[in-house]
């Protein structure tokens, strides 16, 4: 009996509105849409349930396809890194050592770390695999886990001690080619995260004091959470020759001279992108998954009684077969111990884009009732027109994209006074500000921003050159950059 009541409780749906308490809404949706489970009770390590895992598998497919189209090839690197590798590049080791999980002695006189990121595995391999300019570019990736002993508060999907990602490591002849790769990586984020999943971002070239440990520079993708805070999505790094020098990874250039490789790294974390998808599109009834991403695109809920069960289910199967022929991902919820209303509720919570309701009335009229998750509208569709659902799916994704783009547009405010910055940040928006510098010399002003407004200088637009005006509001020196200031996760 106790068990039963628990089951009912977990099915009553969200008890909080997204715009009233986003944090609690997010926590509830993770549990009630059966995305993750935290009850293993190990800080920063999350059990990812089938609904989230299937969605993430689709993300891997989209990302890997795009990466392969751009010349990347898969690899599998060990999950461990010998200490002598991890500590080769001095800035890298400073940045990552405090965050490393070490293995207990394995009896082999090797100190091994769980990889926090894999530059120090790929670069020594580049040294062995690349002999001349003819072997370049070399563009590799792997999907897998990395591990960081983050001491900050962990949040499922967003910040964990293990996270599931793709990391790309590329080697080039020249700095120009490596910088072009950084731009190509931004394009990959654009093509997949923005264009397919409808999650817009600001490609931010981070200030000098906020770059990846060991990089020449870093471009992070800043996405908005509904509470106005920014979250970093895929970042891409120009490593320059820092790692290649540390590992003595050279190649023979076209003139026959040995030179150090130019390398880049790009790391889309699928679990974290899922967090942004949930946060961007979800509503008070639950998740809304883009049509191109959802593990189930159409759920058929047959409405039957003991008498007409067989014929309703038979016809539902026919509808399923028709949709499968159109390569639509479709399932029937045949469970006879749940009422149709309960089923509607469950699949709305899980964010399935379309629901087909099919009962006696529809059977008679050769039609279906089609419920659309984002608009919550019901419409009728003749059985002979079922094919239209693919097109309706594209429209669905287009609506999500446009809505998200509109949200972000209104959130960036040009500010030319401290007062304006304060108001902007307090209202959950991002301030666009002329600023002294994003080199080391700007760090004092960034500290003022943090102290006075609890805001971060997130960086400059990485794919366009924006002209600053006047002087820096904090130090009075001539502004050299247009920066974006926001609060962040």
């Amino acid at each position: 009996m106790e068990k039963k009541s628990e089951e009912q409780k977990s099915n009553v749906g969200l008890t909080v509105k997204k715009h009233e308490d986003f944090s609690e809404w997010f926590t509830q949706i993770l549990e009630k849409a059966e995305l993750v489970d935290l009850r293993l009770d190990v800080k920063g390590f999350t059990v990812i349930r089938p609904w989230a895992a299937m969605t993430m598998e689709n993300m891997f497919e989209h990302l890997e396809k795009e990466l392969q189209k751009k010349g990347h090839r898969p690899t599998f690197m060990p999950s461990v890194i010998p200490k002598e590798n991890l500590t080769r590049e001095s800035e890298h080791v400073k940045g990552f050592t405090p965050e490393v999980f070490w293995l207990k002695d394995t009896g082999d006189n090797k100190e091994l770390a769980l990889r926090p990121t894999s530059e120090t595995l790929y670069t020594p391999m580049f040294k062995l695999w690349i002999r001349s300019h003819r072997d370049l570019p070399l563009k590799l990736y792997q999907r897998g886990s990395v591990f960081r002993l983050d001491t900050k508060a962990t949040r499922p999907l967003i910040r964990g001690r293990e996270f599931i990602w793709i990391e790309c490591h590329d080697a080039f002849e020249t700095k120009e080619q490596a910088e072009a790769q950084v731009q190509e990586d931004i394009d990959t984020t654009e093509k997949v995260m923005h264009k397919i999943y409808g999650v817009p971002f600001l490609p931010m070239k981070r200030p000098e004091w906020d770059k990846f440990a060991g990089a020449e520079y870093t471009v992070g993708s800043d996405c908005f959470m509904p509470d106005g805070k920014l979250i970093q999505q895929p970042s891409t790094h120009l490593m320059g020759q820092k790692f290649s020098k540390a590992f003595n990874a050279t190649f023979k250039n076209q003139e026959g001279h040995e030179e150090y490789l130019w390398t880049t790294a790009y790391g889309p974390a699928v679990s974290r992108i899922l967090a942004s998808v949930i946060a961007t599109h979800g509503d008070d009834s639950g998740l809304i998954l883009p049509y191109a991403l959802s593990p189930i695109q159409v759920i058929i809920v047959p409405i039957f009684n003991a008498e007409n069960k067989n014929k309703i289910l038979k016809k539902s199967k026919e509808i399923l077969n028709k949709l499968e022929k159109e390569k639509i991902k479709v399932e029937i919820d045949e469970r006879d111990y749940k009422r149709p209303g309960e089923k509607y509720h469950i699949w709305e919570l899980k964010g399935v884009p379309f629901r087909i309701e099919f009962g006696e009335k529809e059977l008679e009229k050769d039609e279906i009732v089609l419920f659309t998750r984002d608009t919550k509208e019901k419409s009728k569709l003749k059985l002979k027109d079922l094919k239209q659902i693919s097109k309706l799916g594209s429209d669905f994704d287009q609506r999500l994209l446009e809505k998200a783009d509109k949200f972000i547009e209104k959130r960036i405010i040009n500010c030319s006074s401290k007062k304006e910055i304060k108001e902007t940040l307090s209202s959950g928006k991002v301030a666009r500000v002329s600023f002294c510098s994003t080199d080391k010399s700007g760090v004092q002003c960034a500290e003022i921003v943090e102290r006075e407004f609890s805001g971060d200088v997130r960086g400059t637009m990485a794919n366009k050159n924006e002209k600053p005006e006047g002087n820096c509001l904090f130090c009075g020196k001539p502004a050299t950059k247009v920066v974006y200031i926001g609060r962040s996760y």
Copy 2:
């Protein structure tokens, strides 16, 4: 200059014949076909290079598709297991504790192990996710790494301290359903490893003394290596109620009573299956990959000089486009700093099923020269008949399958004396023997087999009931089982 000579050396091809020194042949092929790299120099941890990684990605696709068809859903479990979970089931902990990598203290008062296998992660989740018979069966899997501190000699792809696999964990209402799952798992191995990859196996129900730590029984898939030794491929385990009792994972049955779940586990290790594919099909020129598995199914080698380069490459592109339209995985090797002969050599080493040679002569005649990797025959094909390659690909795989099946058939010898067993094992074959028992009572006889013949009692056929004859050759008691005895990896 030194670098150049190294490059040439690594390209000279295999210097040993497969049937003369299989072990050295295997080592050379791993390096020269650019499958793995051991120079990271961490015992048991292997860098897997793109050619092997792409092949393994195809394996994941085949296996996951088959598993999903059979109702499995993906998950992502943490890579770590808290000590209190790992040590819950007493036989499991005895079997696995010596092989576990532990993390150094993380400051959270939790002792964490790198997962050696994930029963102790899935079962506590089953307890939380399954309330009644309506939630059953629940069939889950994950792809990822597991870690075992194996102190035996490691061999790349075959035996490592980290290996890349899929593990399935399923829960059922009854023992019958769980046992049916074990048979379904054998069918999955059959459909993918045997039917697609052409690697035959004996599904061996292991003797009591050789089962998975914590299982009621284990069925391993024994494949032949060319030297006659057996290697275990995917194994499937009836866990029974051992783990569900340890974790108190119950469900309400159809009569309303709480009962313990019946669970199974199945673990295909893709890197190891790749080892069997290499070993089964490869020849003295290198790897031979099944058409359905190879990352490149057709490689086009254009034959050109400075004069006709443009027109030859243009036409080669047309050939590529035509094949791509047929969903054939095809690439052109355009490198102009390598001679055609060198390219032939490289792609034969990598095992690509078909090579298209295309030069001036072929251009004039509207045809191609088609080289077939396994038979090494060259034939001519008109450009208008390019579509035929898909069919030739199926024939290719059928030939590999039949050849491998024939090899295994001749390797199993009925033996009714110790002398016959000795001769059989010495000649790299497997002895089929009537035997006292595969319960604990048979262990003394198995020890005699090991001592006298360096052989292992691998088990009984798991999918058929074979009738023994007479008495056990070792203890003289009436034989109750037909067992298979072989030498193993």
